[in-house]
Amino acid sequence: MSTPASQFKEPLESVRARVADDLRAVVAAESVLSDIESLRPYECDGLSAYRKLPLVVVLPDRIEQVQEVARYCFKNDIPIVARGAGTGLSGGALPIENGVILSLAKFNRVLKIDAQNRTAVVQPGVRNLAISEAVAHLDLYYAPDPSSQIACTIGGNVAENAGGLHCLKYGLTVHNILKLKIVTVDGDLVTIGSDALDSPGYDLLSILTGSEGLLGIIVEVTVKLLPKPECARVIMASFDDIEKAGNAVGNIIAAGIIPGGLEMMDNAAIRATEDFVHAGYDVEAAAILLCELDGIPDEVEDDIESVKVVLAQSGYTQMQIAENEAQRQLFWSGRKAAFPAVGRISPDYYCIDGTIPRRALGSVLNKITELSKEYGLRVVNVFHAGDGNLHPLILYDGNVEGDLEKTELLAARILQLCIEVGGTITGEHGVGMEKIDQMCVQFDSLELTQFHAVKEAFDEKRLLNPDKAVPTLHRCAEFGAMHVHKGQLKFPEIERF
């Protein structure tokens, strides 16, 4: 299955010039980028190890223009890769050589705030945090808060079903949106969902959320807003053993408490962040847990008492409750700065996103330590413990020959481990280009074929972000030939070459 546009017979540069000219008839001339230097900033997303120049970049600012661009590309069999802020960590917005990057950056307005209904209608290029800022004066906010929230766009959040620090209690993007407007591959404008809590027919909102730009171009989003919690308090507990910390997480939940946030850092992460922000972390601890309880003050008070008891029973070595807002922010500062902190101790790092059942936390973390030794690469763990979403950061040096390849192998081993314990290869960052081979491990050929059928229901010509997120069976056969899983061939029916 090749990308349709690969059938161009003329040289790439002349195609580029022609397509750019054609698109300049659709949008303002300065909204089409086609010289190599202007294309550079678009050659990768947050996963900078993968790079490719697009054919052209187009930056429309009205829905009709998006429709026109889609119609043009449809007619000429040109792939379209939608792009928000490019903070994605799985190569979802990675360009395709003969495809257009359709940037939604100019769609950056909050169109409507309905305080009484607790909804906002926003354009896809609005930054995640900008939504909460726009409604803060109403004591409302938009709940999903990916760590990248100052930069990432709501369109990208919908496309990835982004999560954040608070999703155990408040849900992912899919739980916090009501309605989308999408432009289909052939340029139709379609409304998905509604202003009511549910809509007739199939739950198309679910299938669009997390579809990584493969099913439609999101041009408007209606989000739900929540009242700001009246109070939030955080408890920090240290443990001398990572498994104990993992069990504490399960114990809190078994006690009937759903914290607003429940995050964990291992010793390497504690040291890296403490050096960076001086949050007063216990650098001797094997792991620390940050447990935030939020809601109405009386409720929070009750929960704090219960969590204290549970943590004691789980065997903490130290515990501290933030006395005031400043201290709460300080406790969180290290966790929130974990990525840049790690950036200081290593030239490069590679973030993994596997999610596992909570009961496997301890054993998986221990196994990761073993793998880290086996590959000779340091691994730092900071993650969303409450929902079992790991973010092991593998430290490497891109300038050292073979380091990246070794890192990718280690990452693949860790993801395989996540699948083995009943988890998934990605909890919130998406498959994109990065984890496409691991999809062959998580799903069998019938399931992948069903995914392709879903794709075709929206995009028969396979022009929207083609060849990402769902691998072709051929790709899996090639991958399977290299990585035979537990001695079994996953795709016995496919010819190998």
Binding site: S194, D198, S199, P200, T209, D302, Q450
Partner: protein
């Protein structure tokens, strides 16, 4: 709990494909009144039952499609957990598969989420008789399209649900029901005002001048909220919400077609004659009326909602008609999952 019950169902779907006959998927038959008229050769999911996995600290339960809803509810209750979307069962025979396929949620829905929000993963048979797994047993999973949620509320037209993994939540430590007497417009305005602030409201109902609300949370939290909201405490709260959820409340015994109308919570009192009961802080409105479907839907369309003919009346157009482009996507998806049209064809929309 025969280990072959899944294989039997798979074989039955494959046979139906070969013979080009439609199948009518049946669980406990408690919701056969809902949607368009069921048709096709009956095939029972009941033998494929049982809880597969339940780990309270994971907040996840996995059970087979034919498992009784009551069984699941009592097992999680032993661990002080619950299916937080409070699915209506409409009879003790109700199965988990039927519950998820119809996608209905009860009184707690606006405050914690719907059936689709709690669905984490499924194992299903598509219309080609293929055994497929999507999603999983973890809280977050973005590998592949979210087929599990797509199947919720699809009325069995896309697949046979063999297994379903659901997120469960702890049962609130304290629940209390309060009652207020006021006019409908006032009740709507008040509920929307309350919703603007954090509060432990977990259900509302309004009928003939009386607003009931349920508070759920810790002892102190509920007490503080009660002090703030006022109202009169009632003792039969549990029964009240159960009767609303299961449609045993006397409102539902009136004769005439019953409509389920879903609108934004701030929508004004509907300009449609009939007898009404409101839930979900105003976002769900039950209406018993002889008003023609077209008139109801024209009114509801204006408000940005939709109307389902829930019981009685002419079932032909039970579900709100879809916009042309959306209808086309439904046809395409149906073809993607069930190309021969053997799974509950026409149960939702003609040709789907």
């Amino acid at each position: 709990m025969s280990s072959d019950s899944a294989q039997d169902l798979i074989a039955a779907v494959k046979r139906a494909c070969d013979r080009k006959v439609a199948l009518c998927l049946q669980g406990g038959n408690t919701k056969d009144f809902y949607g368009r008229e069921p048709c096709g050769e009956p095939i029972s999911i009941l033998s494929h039952s049982g809880i597969v996995d339940y780990a309270p600290t994971e907040l996840v339960i996995t059970a087979r499609g034919g498992t009784r809803l009551t069984e699941i509810e009592s097992v999680v209750a032993e661990h002080k957990q619950m299916l937080a979307f409070e699915p209506p069962s409409f009879g003790s025979e109700a199965t988990l598969g039927g519950t998820i396929a119809s996608g209905l949620s009860g009184p707690r829905r606006p405050y914690v989420g719907a059936a689709r929000d709690f669905t984490l993963g499924i194992r299903m048979i598509n219309g080609r008789g293929e055994d497929l797994k999507f999603g999983g047993k973890v809280m977050k999973n973005v590998a592949g399209y979210d087929v599990s949620r797509l199947l919720v509320g699809s009325m069995g037209t896309l697949g046979v649900l063999l297994e379903i993994s659901l997120k469960v939540l702890p049962v609130p430590k304290v629940e209390q029901t309060l009652m207020f007497e006021l006019e409908q417009d006032q009740a709507l305005a008040l509920q929307n005002d309350w919703a603007r602030k954090p509060s432990p409201i977990s259900a509302t109902s309004y009928r003939e001048g009386v607003l009931h609300i349920r508070l759920s949370g810790s002892e102190k939290g509920v007490k503080a909220a009660r002090a703030r909201l006022g109202g009169e405490k009632i003792d039969h709260g549990r029964k009240h919400w159960h009767d609303i959820k299961e449609q045993r409340h006397k409102f539902f015994s009136q004769s005439g077609p019953l409509w389920r109308i879903s609108v934004p919570p701030t929508a004004p009192t509907l300009n449609i004659p009939g007898s009404a009961l409101l839930e979900w802080s105003g976002a769900l409105r039950w209406l018993i009326t002889d008003t023609p479907a077209q008139k109801i839907r024209a009114e509801v369309d204006k408000l940005g909602g939709h109307a389902v003919l829930f019981r009685g009346g002419d079932r032909e157009n039970a579900f709100h008609p879809l916009a042309t482009a959306v209808h086309k996507l439904h046809e395409n998806l149906k073809k993607a999952f069930d190309p021969m049209g053997v799974l509950n064809p026409g149960r939702m929309y003609e040709g789907i």
